[in-house]
Amino acid sequence: MATSDENAHGSADGGGPRTDLKLVALLETIKRRGRVWEDLAAQYGVTNPDPPWKVALDATCDLLAGDSLVLPTARVVPGSCALPGVQRRAEEDDLSATIYADVPFPERQLLALAHSMIKHGLLDEEELARRVKLVHERLNSA
């Protein structure tokens, strides 16, 4: 069976909603202003390849996926998991190729997660912006 160039890549392409690529203002601000681990580690001479929050991020992604990684989005029982793994990864791929393409990993994964959660109504952008500010203040108030 001849495979055209369109289908030449190995990913599954059956159905599924398109990723919403409209920019999220809060995330654009963070993207523009935030200091990535690559730079921070270099500046402070820290050799860890990953930022300290990477593991927590992965745990969040796992927990949101619940038992969904194998189920297609439409088959996931609503409420059984917040953000199916296949869907989150497909959106992360799309976002990483487009609006977050110039952000290094794992900052890119984090932005993509926040983006997906906002677009799917799991988080509210305003509320998230307020909480980011609060967290900053809390962590800097030592």
Partner: protein, 236 residues
Amino acid sequence: MSNKPHEHKPAPMVDEVSDFEALEIAVRELAIEKGLFSAEDHRRWTEYVHSLGPLPAARLVAKAWLDPDYKKLAVTDGVKASLAVGVDWINSPPTGFGTPSDYCNLRVLEDTPKLKHVVVCTLCSCYPRPILGQSPEWYRTPNYRRRLVRWPRQVLAEFGLQLPPDVEIRVADSNQKTRYMVLPVRPAGTEGWTEDQLAAIVTRDCLIGVAMPKPGVTTNIKRPVHPAVHPIHHDH
């Protein structure tokens, strides 16, 4: 000149809070407050994920090289063989039945001089985390996932691995519940080595299949992620 022997320099630390660090915390806190998951679950998962790394897989390979019976077990029952290197696919994850992205079906793919395996997950970068730790970034990119299945020799060449045509390169695409790791061929020059010495040369890249173990090589390639030469067409 003050000469303070044994002066202990504290390990360098990043001394500022980045926006990304704050974002991760904010996302997590709100998710917990909205009941998407519990703080307790998150703590346990973080501890679990934190505990994972490639050393058990390297030791599995070293053990297999030294013990033909263990090698046979590894190839026929990866989950059972994992127990010998301290990895319990079923019981040690926080769920008690495997994790949602890793499941409990490890298959150990045995290379021979005429057969080289290399692993990918084209769909979303599934990876044998419980025994190999977190996947490297390049493994997760569409660049790798989409190109390896179709142009494996080109991609392997980018990793510095070129094999003659009479060697079968077998790409294993872990698109369902099985997770793969590679059991490479034991290299020459390792005669009489201990399990520790052998494990040290079985790098993560060797376990994925993009590198072959060599005496003296104990680190992974720092591979810059290139944009795909062959274009990736998005699904429209």
